[in-house]
């Protein structure tokens, strides 16, 4: 290893100046870690402002505009407020777990940032199992909610936690199936490998169905509208975090905000080419701009969804997942796998030396895209039939379904 530039070969540079090799390596790792862990926390301060402004504009309000120019410092003021608020631990709470839960919740999100590729050379660490890593650490967040709900010693918190956990684990299934598609096409689980494989063609072209399912299920994973049963105020008072106050409550929210943007980044990296863009090989730093632009688009779409759509009912939420998303995602994986074999058998796959060429990727892309369109057409047909049946049934039976009556704790405990 030689000392080229200070950021990527810091250890080598330190060794040149006479530091112990082991220590030099450690310092390099520590610095990298600090940069990557700080990034989401700095970004979140901006994100909260963006979110509030955006939601306000959608709803024809002004949004924060008092603290600093355009209300930019509102988040700082809020953070100060949260820190100085009294922190209440309810009687009978399990103190250790109660305090640990918000930390675990935000840690599970921050850990995802370790494998997000920002440019050809800037990535926390390019694990060979990166795609599985982020699903695995993401699933720790579920645990945090369970811990929070249980340790609060509150019926509504526990009930909310149960619901949320059921929602999160359910939507993880289609998410992972959608994630299989990029792995299948790229033949790699490392995040850089997946992004590199999109130099010729973005995966969203090859499998728009997978991209859509991934987007919907990650949206549900964050617990944002229309899937915000986490904060179903009308039924659960406030859900699993009802007993939390002050900074601990703030951490749950910060975690949620970071999670939304993290999902947008993952969406950009997995399906929209990540840092791929013109001139990125000459100036790697351009990768930051490309991925940030792409991620911002998804972030804004998800904000738009949040501020416009109404909340779904929990039975609809579960039916939508298990009877729609999961079957479609399974069929999608099978179709993509089948078409990849067909493409290879027909010799339409791009040659190894032309993998980065747009034209060489076209035949494969067209075949796979047609497969996706067939899936979409079939699904739409099925939905139309289903809708017709539902309307027919609704006309004969004009009885409205009771909403979740059995969910009240009084009745749940017989």
């Amino acid at each position: 290893m030689e000392c080229r530039d200070i950021i990527n070969t810091l250890a080598a540079c330190l060794q040149v100046s006479g530091t112990d090799p082991g220590l030099a390596q450690f310092i390099q790792i520590l610095l990298g870690v600090l940069i990557v862990t700080m990034a989401p926390l700095i970004v979140v301060i901006l994100l909260i402002w963006v979110e509030r402004k955006f939601a306000a504009r959608v709803q024809d309000r002004i949004g924060p505009n008092r603290v600093g120019p355009y209300g930019l410092f509102q988040t700082v003021a809020d953070a100060l407020k949260l820190i100085t608020k009294e922190d209440i631990t309810p009687a009978g709470a399990d103190r250790l777990i109660y305090n640990l839960a918000p930390i675990v919740s935000i840690v599970s999100v921050i850990l995802i940032w370790a494998v997000i590729p920002f440019s050809p050379i800037h990535i926390g660490v390019d694990l060979s199992i990166g795609a599985l890593y982020f699903v695995a650490v993401g699933s720790i967040g579920t645990l945090a909610i369970m811990m929070a709900g249980w340790s609060s010693n509150n019926k509504y918190a526990l009930l909310g936690a149960f619901r949320v956990v059921a929602q999160l684990v359910s939507y993880e299934v289609p998410m992972v199936f959608a994630l299989l598609v990029p792995v299948l096409i790229a033949g790699s689980m490392s995040m850089q490998g997946i992004v590199e494989a999109q130099r010729g063609m973005w995966f969203v072209v090859l499998s728009p169905v997978a991209a859509l399912i991934f987007f919907i299920s990650t949206q549900a994973e964050t617990g944002r509208a229309p899937f915000d049963l986490i904060e179903a105020e009308s039924e659960l008072v406030a859900g699993f975090n009802i007993e939390y106050s002050g900074m601990k409550f703030g951490l749950f929210f910060a975690g949620e905000f970071v999670h939304v943007f993290t999902n947008a980044l993952l969406m950009a990296a997995l399906f929209f080419g990540g840092w791929v863009g013109p001139g990125v090989d000459q100036i790697p730093a351009l990768g930051f701009v490309y991925i940030a632009l792409k991620a911002t688009v998804f972030y804004l779409v998800s904000l738009l969804l949040r501020s416009t759509l109404p909340r779904v009912r929990i039975d609809q939420l579960m039916s939508f997942n298990w009877k729609f998303l999961v079957p479609v995602s399974i069929v999608n994986v099978i179709v993509v796998a089948f078409l990849l074999q067909v493409v290879r058998a027909l010799g339409l796959a791009p040659a190894a030396d032309l993998a980065n060429d747009f034209i060489a990727n076209l035949p494969q892309a067209i075949v796979l895209l047609l497969g996706s369109l067939v899936i979409v057409a079939f699904v739409l047909q099925q939905l139309r039939n289903f809708g017709r049946q539902e309307r027919a049934a609704a006309q004969t039976v004009m009885v409205r379904k009771e909403d979740d009556v059995d969910m009240l704790p009084a009745q749940a405990a017989h």
């Binding site: 060979s128 369970m146 811990m147 249980w150 684990v169």
Partner: protein
Amino acid sequence: MLELNAQSIGFLVFSVFTIGGGLGVVTSRNLIHGALFLILSLFGAAGLFVLLSAEFLAAVQVLVYIGAIAILIIFAVMLTRSMTRLSEVFNRQWWLSAVVAVGLFVLILVGVILPVFGGMDTASVAPDVATTVDLGVALVDGNQYVLPFEVASILLTAAMIGAIVIARDNE
């Protein structure tokens, strides 16, 4: 003695997690604490997997055990209200069990570990290992694991159907 580097430090830390978590599981009165100790133990084991270059299995360990099995256990604890009303944690033969467990440990120590005990020479261990891609190839290779691969699927199907039949109340 053990050379102090990133690997050995990691090994010590993860061993403490694994065994400490295990002790927590068998001794804790509160079952939710027990489940969280189980998670700690499994997390430590995932760390050991990483040190043994089985990264894929480490990720799977976190995904399946911590993300799914632990959640299922917590659900079951809640569904059965097992935390309350149980005054005695251990049964009457607990001392006998302890004797059996220690005896088992001694047996393993003498039979399996003693023959290789004290050897610190790891130079002969191959540095490069098979990757997850090889695992994928082996799983669907007609001469290797394709049959267990399908049987695993049947087992999971059977387990899921069986568990649904058992767990639902048919009132």
